[in-house]
Symmetry: C2
Subunit: 314 residues, 2 copies
């Protein structure tokens, strides 16, 4: 978000943000990330409400958001963290506490030994990793990621069901062989999913295709990317679905909200350092995609500019 | 680069690399970057040779390569560094020494004040930045980046002449106005350029279009991206072109080799942590594009795998 001093008119909403910036940003050199606690709290209350209605626990996906300065607030409403690497798991353990779900696309032996000392759940990405390292983590609560072969993500990169995906076990016979070694299953088939009617389809698909497995485990994680904190999302209906799923298979359900937890709560505040003209006016700010907005590079999307509002510039 | 233990046959070249890894990599945990000093030296000697033949000085482009552990070697063959930010410029000053060309797409006032304390040349990206900050840097050797409106880069992102580019001054009348304030000009119109016959075109284009400016400055930087260390590159013919250009306009020519300086000298050494199968065999290594090979993400290219050689896998 940047403020263009050339622009003169403001909407009431603009002036709210500007006032907040004036107060919070005094003396803070740009660029910086501004977190709006009141908006964050709005999301967190919805997360707590979903838990109350459905029994589903929510663990924060650290790969999406790891700004631990607000973890003290977040942990009052969430059940712990989930991670994708040794260092993320350590962060969750040290700064958030509560449940530490430790997952990795591939662990080294040293990482397994270290993570096992503090994780409350260890989730392996493949049957081969599970079989190789199980002797080292006996007695721990163990999970296996399963590729559900279904996804509603618009981003190919984040789609675990895309051809040749390395994310999650795919071979049914192998999975059955290791069932006695695991306590839970992690599915992840959504990313930035706001097609509400598809959520039902996903739960149906999993119920229909993995029933024999679901009946034998204690917990199931449905992953992240479900935008249930969005304005107008039918939270009650979704909660009912989750509760029915949980009851049918007698499992504790987990969700892994990342973006969902913090949506609409964060801004990157920058300053315009120069205005140049090359067929159009161009503002140069003191932030860059690689350094401050890497997700835009990964997904090839544009920054949403909160301020100034879109005009003849682009 | 990774070593796949399943593969049994090796070429002689493979076994050279493997032997080097066995010796250099003993006890070093992966992932790590391996620099081959003997190959680096081969490039550096060509850079020194070009300087000798043409008089053109070469400054290392730190945005491409900033591994200061080999700067002691590199500074014997190169004339300094060029940078794109305050911190890069500081790195060049503290770890490389010699000439420090400090450029930034946009400086803040604080950055200008700090850079001015140690830079040997300060290069501004726009006429507006130059005019705004000139009073702060009077007496320094000042440069202006000019958009040459020509490029042979295959990558749109790295093409300074693409529509709406913010890189370099474009308005002829503005440039003429500030000529008395500057000592030199920076052009940058190549990126990963190995079309040798085009190099002549670029120098011709600049000579024809910017002659009145060139006659009034002391130095001209032709930027980076010219692959003159490549096997078979006509170094002598290129040197002659540069020398003629330098003589015609009575300017010191600079080149800014980045990739050119270190090509073929670096490897990312990783370990295979897991092998999974999803329609094909997939090796999972202990390195990632975002963390270790960001340029692949920026340019959407694939890693060149040095070892193992390409087989039925991909």
């Amino acid at each position: 978000m940047f403020y263009n001093p050339r622009r003169k008119t403001m909407t009431p909403h603009d002036s709210d943000i500007l006032n907040a910036l004036d107060q919070s940003g005094k003396g803070i050199p740009t660029p910086y990330y501004l977190l709006d606690e009141s908006r964050l709290l709005k999301n967190l209350k919805k997360i707590a409400r979903l838990r109350e209605l459905s029994g589903a626990k929510s663990v924060l996906a650290l790969k999406c958001f790891s700004t631990w300065s607000v973890f003290d607030l977040m942990k009052e409403y969430m059940d712990g963290t989930t991670s994708s690497s040794l260092f993320e798991a350590k962060l969750g353990h040290e700064k958030f506490g509560k449940e530490v779900h430790a997952y990795s696309v591939a662990y080294s032996e040293e990482e397994v030994r270290e993570v096992a000392t503090f994780a409350t759940k260890m989730i392996f990405n493949s049957v081969s990793q599970l079989e190789r390292f199980h002797p080292l983590v006996k007695g721990k609560n163990i999970g296996l990621r399963i590729n559900p072969n279904i996804s509603f993500s618009g981003f190919d990169l984040a789609n675990p069901a895309r051809p040749f995906s390395r994310l999650g076990a795919t071979q049914q016979t192998e999975i059955e062989r290791v069932l006695p070694l695991i306590n839970g299953i992690m599915f992840h088939c959504n990313c930035e999913n706001n097609q509400r009617d598809k959520l039902t389809d996903i739960i149906e698909h999993i119920s229909n295709n993995f029933a024999p497995l679901l009946e034998k485990v204690e917990w199931v994680s449905l992953g992240g990317g479900i935008y249930f904190t969005q304005e107008g999302f039918p939270l009650e209906a979704f909660a009912e679905k989750l509760a029915a799923f949980s009851k049918r298979f007698n499992v504790q359900v987990y969700l892994e909200p990342g973006e969902t937890s913090i949506t609409q709560s964060g801004y990157l505040v920058t300053s315009v350092l120069d205005l140049v003209h090359n067929q159009m006016d161009i503002a140069i700010v003191d932030a860059a995609v690689e350094t401050h907005m890497l997700d835009l590079l990964i997904y090839r999307t544009d920054a949403k500019i909160a301020l100034p509002k879109k005009g003849s510039h682009r």
